[in-house]
């Protein structure tokens, strides 16, 4: 089965036009033209006439769930979601940042999305092994079947084979590259704190200057804050101008959380996020 990006784009336009025309929603979060074909942008359609600017191609990998928390509560929003993005929406619903009834989810079943910087296909790395949205109201296209399902954790193999010295050296080198532009937290649909802990001055958790220790503090704490919530969209790694493979650490933590608490992030709106929940019979073994 081959994905027709053009067909998805047409359906996206039709649905967006209808929803805006019937005033079911006040805005549609979708993708629009960028400065060239390979660089589309997130786009907000507010009027039926805006809809013509919507595009969809293999480079549209931005997670639009990131923009949901920007609008006042109660705004009716239609949002185009791919597999990982729909998990982000579910996670935001679990955390009561958005309400299910305010959203119209335009599900996009898709594979073969590409990173605009490297042009490599990102499926195995950051789609959580899913091709179909977990939650949607309208599906734009047919569900993807028959595509080889890759475990989202396969890419961890090389990292997992490192011993602790190698792991430390690996992350030290990566974190030392960090210039603290905070693109990772800003691209993340789950990072909505205001202020972020690293911007706090009382207490001051980490220095503003991009030195190893501040960088380590920022990234480790961010990994902790995303534990059990990261939905594996990979936007943090793609947003990074110096290519720190943040997704590896996030995935590793997500894998550990799944093993320990038996629950993956953003799979059902009935769930509670793993770290604001407990079971009396949680094992003490994980602390050993």
């Amino acid at each position: 089965m081959v994905i027709s990006f053009k067909q998805i784009e047409e359906k996206l336009k039709t649905e967006a036009k209808r929803l805006l025309g019937e005033s079911q929603v006040s805005i549609v979060l979708a993708y629009g033209k960028g400065y060239d074909e390979n660089h589309p942008m997130p786009y907000v359609a507010r009027n039926p006439s805006d809809v013509d600017n919507i595009v969809f191609n293999e480079y549209c990998n931005y997670n639009l769930a990131r923009y949901l928390v920007r609008y006042p509560a109660g705004t009716k929003i239609a949002v185009a979601v791919k597999a990982a993005d729909s998990r982000a929406v579910i996670q935001l619903i679990q955390e009561e940042k958005v309400k299910r009834e305010d959203l119209v989810l335009l599900g996009i079943p898709v594979y073969g999305m590409k990173n605009p910087k490297t042009h490599e296909i990102i499926d195995g790395k950051t789609t959580g092994g899913l091709y179909n949205p977990v939650l949607y109201d309208i599906l734009l296209g047919d569900e993807v079947h028959g595509q080889a399902i890759q475990s989202p954790y396969d890419v961890l193999a090389a990292y997992e084979s490192m011993d602790k010295e190698a792991r430390f050296a690996f992350w030290k080198k990566e974190f030392d590259k960090c210039i603290r532009c905070y693109a990772c937290r800003k691209a993340c649909p789950m990072c909505y704190c205001d202020p972020c802990f690293i911007d706090q001055t009382k207490p001051k958790w980490g220095d503003k200057s991009p030195q190893s220790h501040g960088n380590l503090m920022y990234h480790l704490t961010r990994f902790h804050h995303l534990a059990g919530r990261c939905i594996d969209c990979g936007e943090c790694s793609r947003a990074c101008p110096v290519d720190i493979p943040l997704y590896l650490f996030h995935k590793k933590v997500a894998k550990a959380c799944e093993e320990m608490f038996g629950q993956a992030a953003g799979m059902s709106i009935e769930d509670k996020p793993a770290l604001v929940n407990f079971r009396v019979d949680d094992s003490d073994k994980f602390l050993e």
């Binding site: 602790k164 010295e165 220790h213 534990a227 550990a256 320990m260 770290l275 009396v280």
Partner: protein, 138 residues
């Protein structure tokens, strides 16, 4: 000179801290390497405390709380259990020796256990040697 590790203890007010008191009043001997900070509940512990402690030169961090089910606030340590399990994983994944961070449930009546845990943990940290990976060098 032999290596005397600096160990940060974070103890919950109701169980572990009282347990430590008991260890003291019953004149139990345990190494002096532990510096205890009292918090009201193990779920008060922000994981950043632990990262920061390692950055400021702690060789080990020991967290003590009530036994699950005995929390003074009913469920505090049940949340803490999950949270600290993740902290432990994150420290391990980043390449720090996992033996440097330990969580123990010690009740107010377990002065013995407190002394034993501290003795054992201090020995373990001595074996691991000084913690230099996270420590901020000046």
């Amino acid at each position: 000179m032999s290596f005397e590790p600096k160990i940060l203890g974070i103890a919950c007010n109701w169980c572990t801290y009282t347990g430590a008191d008991l260890a003291g009043t019953t004149r139990l001997q345990y190494p002096q390497n532990l510096r205890v900070v009292r918090v009201m509940c193990s779920s008060r512990i922000n994981p950043s405390f632990i990262f920061r402690a390692f950055q400021l030169g702690a060789d080990g961090v020991l967290v003590g709380g009530c036994h699950p089910g005995d929390c003074h606030y009913n469920t505090g340590n049940l949340y803490a259990r999950r949270r600290l399990a993740v902290t432990k994983k994150i420290l391990e994944f980043s390449g720090l020796e996992s033996g440097r961070f330990r969580v123990e449930w010690i009740s107010a009546s377990e002065g013995n256990k407190f002394a034993e845990v501290v003795t054992e943990f201090t020995e373990q940290i001595k074996k691991l040697g000084p913690q230099i990976k996270f420590k901020i060098s000046q």
